[in-house]
Amino acid sequence: MIYFQLIYEFFKIGLFSIGGGMATLPFLMDLTTRYDWYTAEELTNIVAVSESTPGPVGINMATYAGYNAAGIPGALAATLALVAPALVIIVIIAKFLENFSENATVQAAFYGIRPTVAALIGYAVWELLKITMVVTVGGAARPDYIGIVICLAAFGLMQIKQLKNLHPLIWIAAGAVIGIVLQL
């Protein structure tokens, strides 16, 4: 049953993704190796659409992934399963734990979790880069040099102070224009 699989997988993601929406990316990447709900290439589209539509990115990605797997019921199953663990945990914290985020053990755990989550997202991004930056010409795969140059140029521009806080939507719109103009 695909719905039970979706609920099981996204409940797990909701329980273990700590540190915001992008923290779900390593888990979504992992799903491409175990199910045929969406390919790693489609995952890049999922990220793109999720970053350029309203709503929390993590919710958008889960909804899109669930939709790809099993239509609207799949989207519902994935999204509800994703938020279920946090719903229970937040209510418990609100009820019983006064200074949860200042607790020494909680802070110590996060001292370990933060670098790890950064590494896991880094790994997932690396995997997506490997897929996105390759073109297949006549059956043979080679690096997509134009794509790599555009990606590095965009990344370089993002380091400039005045451009740093530009909304992702603006970058994505620029990407669409470049794609159409250069016939990528």
Partner: protein, 181 residues
Amino acid sequence: MKKLLELYISFFKIGALTFGGGLAMLPMLKRELVDTQGWVTEEEILDMYAIGQCTPGIIAVNTATYVGYRQAGFVGGVFATFGMISPSLIIICLIASILQNFLHIPAVLHALAGIRIVVCALMLQTVVTMTRKGIHDRFGVFLFLAAFILACFSPVPTAVIIILSAIAGIIAKKVGRRKAS
């Protein structure tokens, strides 16, 4: 019942009008929850963000759950959470179904190819930001490398790597405290 509907509508608005989630939602949360509704103070929102960052799940949704719970108990938490995720469900399903019908148009494919490249740059930027914020010492560098290597070359599940890192953090702080005393 009126309160529950208010919670649902307020968070529906926030979900429908903010792009990006996370910190990008702070100004909108403040305007709706502090200025318009008067449900919480600005400091409480920042506290909630601190809690949202060290609990599992999506930070913006966790904030919704928390405010809803404080206003109207568990059911309030559920209504606020559903309000926050409803716009995503509607908008994403709509776009996903529309996009499927446009994927044969060359211009759409070119645009998507360009978007994918820029999204790679955006994701790289996310990794850089998270690395800068998350790593403060040699122990952090060690954990970063260990997690990256485990993810690359071992079948250890992502969830297990996160649990191990939490344990490592707790042990490291304990050892550090013993050395200091």
